[in-house]
């Protein structure tokens, strides 16, 4: 029996490996993705162009603008001459934000009144615009503090927080994306491989040959599950190595726990893949099915945007999403050295999902075969 399963596993692996195009597609794109997208995916805001319209000639506006110009976030500043230009600059997306100081700015500050710093933001890129607004607010706050202290001849009170970021002291976005992408790419590849495995044989007619062979249904099932998991584990390993050596993401956790988590994650994914595969009549349907699963799984995993931001009624849906748990494990092992109990908290749901999808797929499989 073991021999038969082994033969089937070898056959499956060869089927994927012998086809030159699938071979290339299995290795190259994920690595390319990892490299390009790790750098691309960032919610930070850098290198933005802003516009400044200063109608004030006093010393205070000059001082404030000097501070803005000194900020590394704004390498490019466009100085405007009149408010009409502002409209054009924002409309044409040449500037993300425009800072407007009216002619009485310095006068009001000197006179002890509130002076407005009008900030016009491009709502089409709202998130970035708001982040940039935050930077400007910070500059203005420091400006205010220094002006007050200078006038009152006070010592500079420190009002900056003792802020620390655990696990990722400099808040480098790559440290977040690389471990997450390990999960995301493992999911897409493994799912595609499994969901196609049965559908392709069915479409080509070789599935019938498999059926008339002495293999038992559960042997076929194992023979289809194992290769996908082997491929997934290899891809995962490749990406973890790239994360550690290429991207230099720190790895604090324990490798064995990560692999245990990955094993059950891949098990749940192959279960879902086989389920799709046994439902699908053609390769096209299988691919679509896997797409219909992977998309919600990625979006509702906390990778794109945090789960906390979703509406309350949608958040419970994420509980059946295997990627959600694996992301905690993989990020935890890379960045946090999460303790065993946290790993376990995120592993048992994976085991439940994996066992139920695999039994579901097995049941379906047998019905289809019978």
């Amino acid at each position: 029996m073991l021999n038969r399963i082994k033969a089937l596993i070898i056959k499956e692996l060869l089927a994927v490996w012998r086809d030159k195009k699938s071979r290339v597609l299995l290795v190259l794109p994920p690595m390319l993705m990892l490299v390009i997208f790790s750098y691309a995916v960032t919610l930070e805001v850098k290198n933005v162009t802003i516009g400044i319209l200063n109608q004030d000639r006093g010393p205070y506006s000059r001082e404030l603008l000097r501070r803005v110009q000194g900020s590394p976030t704004f390498p490019q500043i466009i100085f405007l001459k009149n408010p009409q230009e502002a409209q054009h600059l924002i409309d044409s997306e040449k500037a993300l934000l425009i800072m407007h100081l009216q002619s009485d700015f310095s006068e009001r500050i000197a006179g002890g009144k509130m002076a407005d710093v009008q900030v016009i933001l491009d709502g089409r890129r709202m998130n970035s615009a708001q982040i940039v607004q935050g930077y400007i607010t910070q500059i203005v706050t420091h400006f205010n503090r220094d002006v007050v202290n200078r006038t009152l001849k006070q010592v500079n009170t420190e009002d900056t927080l003792a802020a620390r970021n655990w696990f990722n002291p400099n808040l480098e976005y790559v440290w977040f994306t690389v471990p997450s992408l390990v999960g995301v790419l493992c999911l897409t590849i493994t799912l595609n491989v499994t969901s196609l495995s049965v559908a392709r044989e069915r479409e080509l007619g070789t599935f019938d040959q498999l059926l008339v062979s002495p293999l038992l249904p559960f042997e076929i099932l194992i023979g289809k599950t194992a290769p996908a998991m082997i491929i997934g584990l290899l891809e995962g390993t490749l990406m973890i190595l790239a994360g550690i050596f290429l991207f230099k993401v720190s790895f604090w956790g324990s490798m064995p726990s990560l692999y245990i988590g990955m094993f059950f994650f891949l098990m749940s994914i192959t279960g879902i893949g086989l389920f799709i595969s046994s439902l699908a009549k053609t390769q096209q349907q299988a691919l679509l099915g896997s797409f219909l699963f992977s998309n919600p799984a990625i979006i509702l995993s906390g990778y794109a945007t945090p789960i906390e931001n979703m509406p309350d009624w949608l958040q419970p849906v994420t509980l059946i999403n295997p990627l959600r748990y694996f992301l905690v494990i993989v990020k935890g092992c890379f960045l946090k050295a999460i303790p065993e109990n946290v790993i376990w908290d995120n592993t048992w749901p994976l085991i439940i999902i994996g066992v139920s999808t695999l039994t579901g797929a097995g049941w379906f499989f047998r019905r289809r075969l019978g």
Partner: protein, 382 residues
Amino acid sequence: MSLFKPLRRLKGLVFKECLQIVRDPSSILIAFVLPCLLMFLFGYGVSLDTANVRLGVAVERQTPETDQILRAFEGSRYFEVTTAHDRRTLEPALMAGHLRGIVVLPTDFSKISLTGMGRRTPLQTIADGSEPNTASFVQNYVQATWSTWLARRNLTQSTPPQTKQMPGQAQVVPKVWFNQQLISRYTLLPGAIPIIVTLVGTLLTTLVVAREWDRGTMEALISTPVSIGEILLGKFIPYFVLGMGTLYFCTLVSCLWYEVPFRGSLFALTTASALYMLNALGIGLFISSATKNQFAAAQASLFVAFLPAFLLSGYLYEISSMPKWVQHITLIFPVRYFVSSLRTIFLAGDVWGVLLPACAKMLAIAALLYLLIATKTAKRLD
């Protein structure tokens, strides 16, 4: 008569393709079910409106001042606050990801903040850096709360003779154009539509053409008198119509269900979208005739069309923040221009200063693409 013959052949091909769409449940799935599902996911699942951030506040000794600070956090709509007397009880929760940040108000908080001045800030924050975006939000928010509290304290503490020479304060007055209500969905949904259109345009065409190769029906088609151009056009027309249909459907859902404003014109929408569809279909046709295998074609279209539409288009991630070499890569993906066009059409209106260059670039890329297809596809069986 001979002039009408190609037209009749084309009609036949288009008709065949339409039947194939209608009769294949998977085409229906892509063209109708998938857009609905994705509109739902992108509408509710993706949001940059920070909410429900779980924050731990460790109050080591309760005083009126710590109560003020605590109230400021509890009153915020962004946080769900857990309090404790010792930060050590909160740290494991931060480790497990149950908290995104901890604010520590130490035993001497009131003493330092009221009298001591000094250089040391009594307030301490620890944020979960494994979620960089949330972490910087937490840091900024705590900083702002602290600065406000400090400014208020300074005002109440300053002695009367000093108030005379007290300078004024500059205050930031933000004005968000095109999206005054600050709803992130308004900017995200118009950016998500290109992803959905890409799926219908690229994935569906890729699969359909690759399937003909896989099953050998392409050889049957080649052996008929139709030319390769007619075969491609016969594929192009129905999927173009289908893609535009999806686009109008998504636009309607965005405007009616999600209440995203639509300030541009239908003409601008149609022009930009038609140009983008040209690209999406072109990529699909190119991939499928280059791979001729469904698995490879699907993988390739995922990596060349879908993921770039999601990650390199400026939909969620600001292009100007990417490294220069990634920015150069985004230039060759037409989806980037489509995202910026759609956002402008939805939120700002017909700003031709943005739309014309975008359309011109999409047209140029499409021209290159079709040139490539023309050289690559010949009526050959190998």
